[in-house]
């Protein structure tokens, strides 16, 4: 069965909940190689999203995701604001008018989001950014679809791939974002943005299909 608007709303609610829970964890990850605010930034953004959500909950998935995107752009700031903002905006455009998302739609949506992040941030995989979680996630989604797996499994593998990508950022030397200023010293730390990207995709897999 497809991803419905209810699934989408439930997903965003779960993202807000998880990012609030993981607020300090994400901020701690941002301390050694950043400026200690990633969790604070995203929590602020998704709390704002929670206020906007009710007004669009009945609309099509595209409108919901675009609202998430514009709200993040308007409230997060930092690098992650425009990046996640663009990601959700593009995902929203890729699903505008839709009330249900099928296997192929999931891939288009992820693809649009990743392209948005890349266009804004100019980061390629391997630069120790959120791209290192999102790119493998997209690949996993494509493979899963090619294997005709159902949405539940597509989302599961997507989130697992994001998690691996996130872990794989630990040994990387950062060449984008604040962490890049550390040079060699950025090695050995997990990227906060890749971590939040995993949490967002995991929230989708976790909530899909389960009633409220």
């Amino acid at each position: 069965m497809p991803i419905t608007t209810e699934d989408t709303v439930r997903w965003i609610r779960q993202v807000a909940r998880v990012l609030n829970e993981q607020r300090n964890f994400l901020t701690q990850l941002d301390s050694p190689i950043g400026d200690a605010d990633h969790g604070i930034n995203l929590d602020r953004g998704f709390q704002a999203v929670m206020e906007k959500l009710p007004s669009v909950a009945e609309m099509d998935i595209g409108s919901i995701l675009k609202t998430v995107g514009t709200t993040l752009v308007s409230t997060v700031g930092g690098a992650s604001g425009p990046l996640y903002g663009t990601a959700f905006l593009r995902a929203g455009m890729a699903s505008s008018g839709k009330y249900e998302l099928y296997e192929a739609d999931v891939v288009h949506l992820l693809e649009a989001a990743l392209e948005g992040v890349k266009a804004r941030g100019k980061a390629r995989p391997g630069e120790k950014t959120m791209v290192d979680a999102l790119a493998p996630a997209l690949l996993a989604a494509k493979e899963a679809v090619a294997q005709n797996l159902d949405i539940a499994h597509i989302l599961l593998y997507t989130s697992e791939a994001a998690e691996e990508g996130m872990k794989a950022t630990i040994p990387l030397l950062a060449t984008k974002g604040r962490a890049s200023y550390l040079g060699e010293r950025s090695i050995g730390h997990q990227d906060p943005g890749a971590t939040s990207s995993w949490l967002i995709l995991k929230a989708l897999a976790d909530t899909y299909g389960h009633g409220v």
Partner: protein
Amino acid sequence: MKKLINRPEDVVQEALAGMEALHPELLRIDYENQIIVRADAPIKGKVGVISGGGSGHEPMHGGFVGHGMLDAACPGAVFTSPVPDQMLAATRAVNGGAGVLHIVKNYTGDVLNFEMAAELAEAEGIEVASVVTNDDVAVQDSLYTAGRRGVGVTVLLEKIVGGLAEAGAPLAQVAEMARRVNGQGRSMGMALTSCTVPAAGKPTFELGEDEMEIGIGIHGEPGRRRVKLASAAEISEMLANPVIEDLGLKAGERVLAFVNGMGATPLIELYVVASELAKILRGRDVTIARSLIGSYITSLEMAGCSITLLRLDDEMIRYWDAPVHTAALRWGI
């Protein structure tokens, strides 16, 4: 965490209220958009000059709003760049029909948010020019990084460019001057202690009693290397020499010497550093034609300092000397 604050989440807005209460003749606060706007903005026919960035660097940028410097400033959350809505609102508020210059410090967050704001402003038909400052020589091989950070030169640039805009120069010329100043200035900073983001509640990094961090940013980002505590003379060498080399300063040249405190370093220590810097420059036969000393671009309550040198030309000197009336910099008025 020991700070003179109420709730961490209210620090920025309450500080703005303080600015409005003490400087009503200079500025007004748009609380909804969280921006600081020059009292008499927009000024018809004058290029609007705005800047912005995370809070925690006071007096930058809000303290530079006023006659002869900035028309508006956009303070983000502490150490977090502002959002495009703020820059768009500021751009609208200061647009006197001659276009608006965006002064952006080179941090991914600032750059991306200002980019989005510029796109939106231009969509509204407001002419925008953007200049990105990137003077921090602590960031080496910038090919493999987000590029040098914008630090101390931003302060000097805002003064000089603000003076030129006040004189009625067109947007292209104002932007050109901004690029020139950025191109002629370099900085490097160091920290004796970390700082604490109010919302985080504990120090961003830990430094031993006998350690210091060289090549620090202004957001509590760790620097390039951690070394044993050294004397003011040695520290001044560590900061000034890379700046001088990167600028390629030659004997006989004139500079503006800017000795900046990171927030918790008292002036007496900055003057000790200034005396060391003066020795170093004298030794290379470089003249200090102008100077600025004090805590103007800070990192909350971090103890430490940064040295900025700007190679001066006559036009830069003219607009540095031009009257300015802001909360943090004032002369000639």
